[in-house]
């Protein structure tokens, strides 16, 4: 089922950890070339697992794709190693930033250029500093001492050093101040538009994600329970209620409400 428009295509994958814990129960999604796609869902829905299945990092956590397939630019990648997948241009930015704490900001970036052409290192560095000018001013700071926002910028900048085609971003807004989150989302949009990098964005902050994505998927309990153009999802009453925290009247509402369970069941059937 090759699809001319899709750069990445995840076909009905099933993922297990330690051979027994079934976490993804048939997830399918597509990311078109040059697109931004959001993957939403509550804690434990399987968002990070989906990204790790794509990037190949799953094996490192004793996870396995036991059914289905993943294609990137027409090639099967679900049996490839993490290094091979990274070399093809798919780079995951892990949840929780995960900078190399004992290295400086610039050394972190240079690690990202490990496989690149050494002569083009300064060119790549300039590109990262162009999008994240603040990183240039703290280039010699040890990454472990940087603030959360700086670390998130560094994590994305480090991925950018690899010259990626598709970025898998896992909750880049996690634990950051709203202003910084805005800034980061803006930069992601610019990277997408100006560098042509496709993005698969995992977020719990659905409001933000739906603002910058063209298409979105909602994951519940290891299954895609809803998908559609971002605009349609923004207007969907369920999404408004459960992920955007708005009721019909637009007032803020508590995340867990009695009706939630009933509606969730409706999605699942």
């Amino acid at each position: 089922m090759a699809d001319g428009g899709a750069m990445l295509q995840v076909n009905n994958i099933e993922v297990r950890y330690h051979q027994v814990i079934l976490v993804l129960k048939g997830v399918s999604l597509k990311v078109p070339a040059g697109g931004i796609v959001a993957l939403l869902g509550a804690n434990g829905a399987g968002k990070s697992t989906t990204l790790k299945a794509i990037s190949g990092l799953l094996k490192h956590e004793d996870g396995q794709i036991t059914d289905g397939s993943i294609e990137f630019m027409g090639q099967r990648i679900d049996r490839k190693s993490a290094e091979e997948i990274a070399a093809m241009g798919i780079i995951q930015v892990l949840e929780g930033r995960r900078v190399f704490e004992h290295l400086t900001v610039e050394e972190n970036l240079r690690v990202g250029a490990h496989h690149g052409d050494g002569r083009r290192l300064s060119e790549r560095l300039e590109l990262v500093y162009h999008y994240f000018p603040h990183l240039r001013t703290i280039r010699n700071r040890v990454a472990g001492f940087c603030s959360g926002g700086e670390q998130q910028m560094l994590a994305i900048g480090r991925a950018l050093m690899t010259n990626p085609r598709l970025l898998l971003l896992d909750e880049p807004s996690l634990g950051l101040a709203p202003l910084i989150v805005r800034e980061i989302m803006e930069i992601i949009t610019r990277l997408n538009r100006e560098q042509g990098i496709a993005v698969l964005l995992v977020e719990q902050n659905a409001k933000l994600a739906l603002e910058i994505a063209q298409h979105a998927y909602v994951l519940e309990n290891g299954r895609v329970v809803m998908e559609g153009p971002a605009a349609a999802l923004r207007d969907n009453p369920d999404i408004r209620e459960f992920y955007l925290g708005l009721t019909e009247m637009g007032a803020r509402k508590r995340f867990r409400e009695a009706k939630w369970y009933k509606r969730r069941k409706r999605w699942l059937t």
Partner: protein
């Protein structure tokens, strides 16, 4: 006072050799989490290999270079054959494998080189001692010190400035994050073993010049354990400082305590320090306080 200075200075010089070997040990530990108990044998192999090349007529610097090359090859082979398949196994299993490795290497050494003490002949360094202010130092110590420092400097530059060195540091900091950038853990583990073998090899060769080459060089190589416990298991600067401190303590113990005992203080003292350190400050002087990954 002069004796004291003398003991401290030679201690620092011998300690710099321990520092070199300890750096190799820490590298393996940092990059792959393996507690390697075969370090003494790596040191011993280095001593014999360089001695062999020297006996064949290679000038000593070239013999050292050849030892480095052989060390790199042996390191990569050891990682490939014995350790790669154990990635992800419990820590204890891997420790036991390194114990097995140490017996394996020891057997191999006896098979190839026998058990007699051998010396570098003709001696590599002139016998005449040199005067440094009030103290007199054997040239072999001085040159060993210089060689160890040079290699430490080269390794430091390697970690700081080359992409491979950076990749190794990154892997030590956060394996998953390094992998997410396409860095291969296999490459990093192999490089760590190669460098450890090279460092231990040069260390063994220098120790062999000081004491002659026999099984006792292997015991000296084992002094990395107190050195790294002192410095902190995962700290490279700690390994260097720890190595030098152990060298000094060992010398002082030998110089001042030996006459009160039937002997052996010099051998035991570093391990007494190690035990005390584990009780008082288990993360060492420079170690990261961090939960062990298992």
């Amino acid at each position: 006072m002069e004796t004291f200075l003398q003991l401290v200075l030679t201690g620092i010089m011998v300690g710099s050799i321990y520092a070199l070997v300890a750096l190799g040990w820490v590298l393996i530990y940092k990059c792959s989490g393996v507690l390697n108990l075969a370090m003494g044998e790596l040191t011993l192999i280095g001593a014999y290999v360089s001695l062999t090349f020297y006996t064949w007529g290679l000038p000593f610097p070239l013999a050292l270079l050849a030892t480095l090359i052989i060390g790199a090859i042996l390191g990569i082979l050891t990682e490939r054959i014995f350790l790669r398949r154990l990635i992800g196994e419990p820590v204890l299993t891997i420790i036991m494998v390194t114990v097995g490795l140490s017996f394996f290497f020891r057997g191999l050494i006896e098979l190839i080189w026998g058990t007699d003490t051998r010396v570098f002949h003709p001696p590599v360094f002139p016998y005449e001692p040199v005067r440094l202010g009030p103290v007199v130092i054997g040239q072999v110590y001085l040159w060993s010190f210089i060689a160890a420092l040079a290699l430490l400097g080269i390794l430091a530059a390697f970690f700081r400035y080359t992409r491979w060195g950076l990749a190794m540091q990154a892997m030590a900091d956060d394996e998953m994050a390094a992998m997410s950038l396409g860095i291969s853990p296999k490459f990093v583990y192999a490089a760590a073993w190669a460098i450890a073998f090279m460092a231990a090899g040069v260390g063994g060769s220098l120790l062999g010049n000081i004491n002659g080459v026999n099984i006792s060089v292997g015991y000296l190589g084992l002094l990395v354990l107190p050195a790294v416990v002192l410095g902190g298991l995962n700290s490279i600067p700690g390994a260097i400082v720890g190595g030098i401190i152990i060298g000094v303590l060992q010398n002082l113990a030998g110089g001042y305590l030996d006459r009160f005992t039937p002997g052996g203080v010099k051998e035991i003292f570093p391990f007494v320090v190690m035990t005390l350190m584990l009780l008082i400050k288990p993360y060492g002087l420079f170690g990261w306080v961090r939960i062990e990954r298992v």
